[in-house]
């Protein structure tokens, strides 16, 4: 393999551009008071309370940097849809971040109360609206029963629908426009999913985006782990002979490095949902575009472990009324056990690098 000079140049470009405007972004976020508020109990773990007042939505550095450079220099058939998916996810995340800071706490009506109101309200129009809204109310209550409590931001059910929309753009592109329906597998023949392929695409993109979002709980954790993941996919894209996507991955790496410079403890800003959802969606989209989506399971292992720990904890608590881990996601468990934040983050980085290497090796089969 030749030295990927083009990709390295894009890394440097993205890094330089992001570093130049990051201080202005930090200043802007402070001025608008887009900072971490007193929102959940995890602030009481370790030194998390010191993060109160740290600007969030630092992910804008990534989203804007990657978008501008890619639109100006790498706008083509291979990169349009991954970027669109990233931008839809970023929009969702941005709205959620802003609502969490400036919005009001929203209550969720129970199903029985909704039905009761729909039966007894004195105005016909209001009764009709309540009945019409009942399926949505049931949908939201299902999420509530799975541990998603309404707060100020978007409800989990609402986020899920918009994420499906983002994933659908990639699914449409791959299945309808390109006619893909198979999943590449190492060592064996590709598996043909047929009509289930778009479902698979949407599911994976939503899962990866949420996994990165859940992992974004410590300074440098998700950014550092994303770096190794994007590196892995950049190498695979080069090896697959897909220069547009390798350059897109390289741009992401450069922007992430600049972001990480400011996000290492003590963080000057945090990614927020705008960054975590966007980068997760972009990573998954790139993986699909180079036909190596199955490697997400290996390359993104730290994220898989984090989201799995949350899922298993939630199920175990619900079913057995006991804890499986001391706290979920897993990085909080290590904090409770006594690991320092720096130790936890760096071990996750190492873990991420190892699995990224493994993913690249598997990608050659």
């Amino acid at each position: 393999m030749d030295i990927p000079i083009t990709e390295l140049k894009y890394i440097l470009l993205a890094f330089t551009v992001s570093m130049l405007w990051a201080p202005f972004l930090i200043d802007f976020l402070y001025k608008l008071n887009i900072t971490r508020q007193n929102v959940d109990f995890t602030q009481d773990i370790g030194e998390n309370n010191l993060k109160l007042g740290t600007p969030i939505m630092g992910g804008l550095l990534l989203v804007i940097g990657i978008s501008v450079i890619s639109i100006m220099l790498n706008w083509n058939g291979s990169t349009k849809i991954p970027l669109l998916c990233m931008l839809i996810s970023a929009l969702l995340g941005g709205i959620d971040d802003l609502l969490n800071i400036f919005g009001r706490k929203r209550k969720l009506r129970t199903i029985s109360k909704q039905i009761k109101l729909a039966k007894i309200h004195k105005r016909f129009i209001r009764r009709a609206m309540l009945w019409a809204a009942l399926p949505w109310n049931i949908y939201q209550n299902i999420w509530f029963n799975f541990g998603s409590y309404p707060g100020k931001g978007l409800h989990a059910g609402e986020k899920f629908i918009i994420q499906i929309l983002a994933g659908s753009s990639v699914a449409w592109w791959l299945y309808v426009r390109l006619g893909w329906s198979t999943i590449w597998m190492p060592f064996i023949d590709p598996i043909n999913l047929g009509i289930l392929f778009p479902v698979y695409v949407v599911f994976v993109i939503v899962a990866v985006a949420n996994a990165v979002n859940i992992s974004d709980g410590m300074d440098g954790l998700s950014a550092g782990t994303l770096l190794s993941s994007f590196w892995a996919f950049m190498i695979i894209a080069i090896e697959r002979g897909n220069p547009e996507l390798s350059v897109l991955a390289a741009t992401s790496i450069g922007a992430l490095m600049a972001y990480l410079y400011f996000n290492i403890k003590p963080a000057r800003f945090e990614m927020g949902d705008v960054g975590s959802l966007a980068m997760g969606a972009l990573l998954a989209s790139i993986a699909f575009a180079i036909d190596r989506s199955i490697l997400l399971l290996v390359i993104c292992m730290p994220f898989v472990v984090e989201v799995s720990s949350s899922l298993f904890q939630s199920i175990y608590k619900k079913v057995f009324a006991r804890r499986l881990f001391k706290m979920a996601p897993l990085h909080h468990h290590f904090q409770i056990v006594g690991w320092s934040e720096e130790k936890t983050v760096m071990r996750f980085w190492l873990f991420g690098i190892l699995f990224a290497i493994l993913g690249v090796v598997l990608g050659t089969y």
Binding site: D44, I45, G46, A321
Partner: protein, 248 residues
């Protein structure tokens, strides 16, 4: 005089000891009383008065870390108050359930509550709840109903029997008999019980009490109950507190 004493198995004694003195590093603290009066559902069982000693210990340590409460430097009273503020404790039926479970497990007669307690679920949802969270769904009524227990007379009392006390403000109460003393003629002279009791000023939670049996042919309410509040010296006998006693 040759007094015979009948006691619970060592495994149950060990469990009671673990509840009596939760191991929190440098401190050993008595588990306070807690009852799920707000009927919170879907939470951890240690937060609704039904946790095991190890679960309670873990939760105390987690919440101490979350709230930056120094367990090593706090006094026992401070730790107990901290536990109460975080809804960590054990209620009467939770304590007795775990004790009975430890007993049958030590005898290798059952591994789970649902093996020896009949819950009589009325629908699928209840069946699933009793299957996965039996202790959380066990209360005084279930432990002492006609399906799961038989009434016995004072003269036939044995360790492992429970006493149900009705008429409390918050519903029924249950205590576990841990030893029975008999004189050489076989007459019951004293019954010792343990429970997680609420009605004590400074030392509610896991407590031991004694009943001096004056006449084993009379019911429990006619005997001499000796449990005493450490602070006030008031003896919490049956009179004035309960309407009825049955020992099951």
């Amino acid at each position: 005089m040759n007094i015979q004493q009948y006691q619970i198995p060592q495994e149950v004694k060990d469990l009671i000891e673990q509840y009596r003195y939760l191991d929190l590093g440098s401190q050993k603290v008595r588990t306070p009383y807690f009852i799920n009066k707000n009927r919170i559902r879907g939470g951890l069982r240690s937060h609704v008065g039904k946790g095991t000693p190890s679960e309670l210990t873990n939760e105390v340590k987690i919440y101490a870390k979350l709230r930056k409460f120094d367990l090593n430097s706090a006094s026992e009273d401070e730790i107990v108050n901290f536990m109460k503020s975080e809804a960590l404790g054990i209620d009467c039926s939770g304590f007795v359930s775990h004790a009975l479970l430890a007993w049958v497990q030590s005898q290798q007669r059952a591994k789970r509550m649902r093996t020896f307690i009949n819950y009589k679920p009325r629908n699928i949802k209840q069946r699933l709840q009793y299957l996965t969270k039996p202790v959380m769904n066990t209360n005084v009524t279930i432990l002492t109903n006609d399906i799961n227990s038989d009434p016995v007379k004072v003269k036939d009392a044995q360790p492992g029997d429970v006493i149900k006390l009705s008429g409390y403000v918050r519903g029924d109460h249950i205590v576990l008999i841990v030893s029975v003393e008999k004189d050489p003629k076989g007459k019951v002279t004293e019954i010792t019980y343990v429970h997680s009791g609420e009605r004590f000023t400074v030392d509610n939670g896991i407590r031991e009490g004694r009943i001096e049996v004056i006449d084993q042919n009379k019911s429990l309410d006619k005997q001499n109950w000796l449990e005493e509040d450490l602070q006030t010296g008031v003896k919490y006998t049956y009179e004035g507190l309960i309407k009825d006693t049955k020992n099951h």
